[in-house]
Amino acid sequence: MLRALHYETSKTSMSHLVLDGLTKRFGSFTAVDAMNLSVERGEFVSLLGPSGCGKTTTLQMIAGFVDVDHGGIRLDGADLVSVAPNKRGLGIVFQSYALFPHMTVAENIAFGLEMRDIAKADRDRQTLAAMELVGLKGFADRYPRRMSGGQQQRVALARALVIKPALLLLDEPLSNLDAKLREEMQGELRQIQRSVGTTTILVTHDQHEAMALSDRIVLMNQGRIEQIGAPDQVYDHPASAFVASFLGKTNVLSGIGDGQGAAAIGGLVLPLPGAGKGPLQLAVRPERLTFAGAEEPGLEARILGRVFQGTHWLLTADSAAGALTLMRGNDGAAVPAEGETVRLRFSAADAALLPAGAAA
């Protein structure tokens, strides 16, 4: 039954995944709390968050390895929860790769085709094509044990893609690779996904990976979705202090709203539509903080320390609006020393107003 569905999805163009109020509890702990998400066909979506945020549990529920307590999962409008995990037809790349150690590369890749009773000749052809796709031509008879991490990663990807899955699930697939290889694989993964066009869900705790690969990022914390959006949108306009601090470095500054669309942060007064009356919190990225000119209003801050990072300096400072970090490009200009007092400014467009009561 699913095979029919699977072939259908590869032809139609309106495939998408819907999570509807998805909930999972382990005892009294709620791992995933009423999660709603819809993913467009061909989209690359990342579930991003710290460990324990529910992203892996969500993936496991889509894959069918963890039972759903409440809510539904629909693929192309058809219910997925009631389908046995081995009939779902999803491609999964595991963090540990989970290659079959007793099978060769070709046998690993062909396994899913074999389960679908595809004739030998067809199987061989498709296996070969998959190996070519991931750049492993000529490795057919190699055993996984005798391959590098990056190569094993490619086998796992080929094995998942060769069954033409309706959905590709990636569970921290790059976390076992070293930094350089990881960057390489990110580019390659993105390019392969684009060329195959398979809808992909990536689970990761690495913000750079999520930003580099995804069309949209789903930021999760404590079983709930904090924000969904394109990488730059989420980065520039964090919806909560958590998102702001989880995605890159950020400063959470406290100010006072005047109730008429403006706020004072130290000596700096900015027009802030949406700001209420009374105390408020703003998220500002370190790279958006600049030094104010002599005539300009600014936020006074005392430099506490500075760390050289090659392309830039990272300065920590203390101000009336709270502790903050700022970035100064290594462009030859003088950098304030520890103990100096500077005046900082930023524009309203660089600041994101955080909802009241949200804590970092």
């Binding site: 039972d67 046995a84 995990p85």
Partner: protein, 288 residues
């Protein structure tokens, strides 16, 4: 969802067959044996299924049985002690050998474990007899004038049992030595510790759990050993297991034999479980 049901039942379905076998072939027979120890027996009437404490009273009051049980545990204690004194240094020496030598000698040390205990004990009977190689050697060296008595003595039984059981001690200690960080000795050296101090303060505390668990195995097996005491000790030097054997297959007083067997089992369970508890409590942090 049906998958959830099987997931919950799976462990019981999977262990079910073995559980049934153990229920039928361990629990029930052992229960019947305990029951048997409370039955009456007579030379001519045989086993009479009437409840009596006769056998237990006999086992606990007759000094003959007391002596045999004391001997059994004395032998087990001596074997365990010797296994520690010989086995611990040997395991340490093995652990410091190059891998190829080590695996060769491991073959020599573990190998005898796979040889029938009857054949091994026969070897000791040949070596320890009054005209055996050990006595001939000692006499030709002029160390002794008359042959030493090994056969039918506790010394002989202890020697044979050390040979049979010492591989268990070496394996247990070696397993804990393998868990040691090889750099740890160097760390102690760099801090100025001498060889003896390193042994006493660094190595020994870490392998004590291995020594203790090896000791429990050796003690339990020595106390319940049968073939070696039967061959070396003969009918003259009885231990608990050969005593039970005689009651069952020679005297045919099964209820009394069952009482002896039950007592041996209970004593061993108390000793091993008790010392296990002790070890786990004292060395919990070393284990993990």
């Amino acid at each position: 969802m049906s998958a959830a049901v099987t997931e919950r039942n799976a462990p019981f379905l999977l262990t079910g067959p073995a559980l049934l076998v153990f229920l039928g072939l361990v629990i029930i027979p052992l229960g019947m044996t305990v029951l048997l120890s409370f039955y009456d027996w007579g030379q001519y009437k045989g086993i009479v299924p009437e409840f009596t404490l006769k056998n237990w009273i006999e086992v606990f009051t007759d000094s003959y049985f007391f002596e045999i049980f004391m001997r059994t545990f004395r032998i087990a204690f001596l074997v365990t002690l010797a296994a520690i004194v010989i086995g611990v240094p040997e395991a340490y020496i093995l652990n410091r050998m190059s891998p190829s030598w080590r695996s060769a000698f491991l073959l020599v040390i573990i190998g005898p474990l796979l040889v029938s205990v009857v054949a091994r004990t026969l070897g000791w009977a040949l070596l320890l007899g009054s005209t055996g190689l050990v006595n001939q050697g000692l006499m030709s060296l002029g160390l002794i004038a008359t042959p030493l008595e090994f056969m039918f003595t506790e010394t002989g039984v202890v020697i044979a049992l050390i040979h049979v059981l010492i591989p268990f001690m070496i394996l247990a200690v070696w397993a804990s030595l393998q868990r040691l960080d090889p750099q740890i000795e160097n760390a102690a050296l760099s801090l100025g510790a001498g060889r003896v101090t390193i042994w006493r303060r660094v190595i020994l505390p870490q392998i004590v759990p291995g020594i203790l668990s090896g000791s429990i195995i050796v003690f339990a097996l020595a106390a319940s050993a049968f073939a070696s005491p039967a061959i070396i000790g003969g009918r003259r030097l009885k231990v608990a297991s050969t005593l039970a054997y005689d009651e069952f297959l020679n005297t045919l007083n099964w209820p009394l034999g069952a009482a002896i067997a039950t007592l041996l089992l209970v004593a061993l369970v108390l000793i091993t479980v008790g010392s296990n508890r002790l070890i786990e409590r004292r060395y919990a942090q070393v284990f993990e």
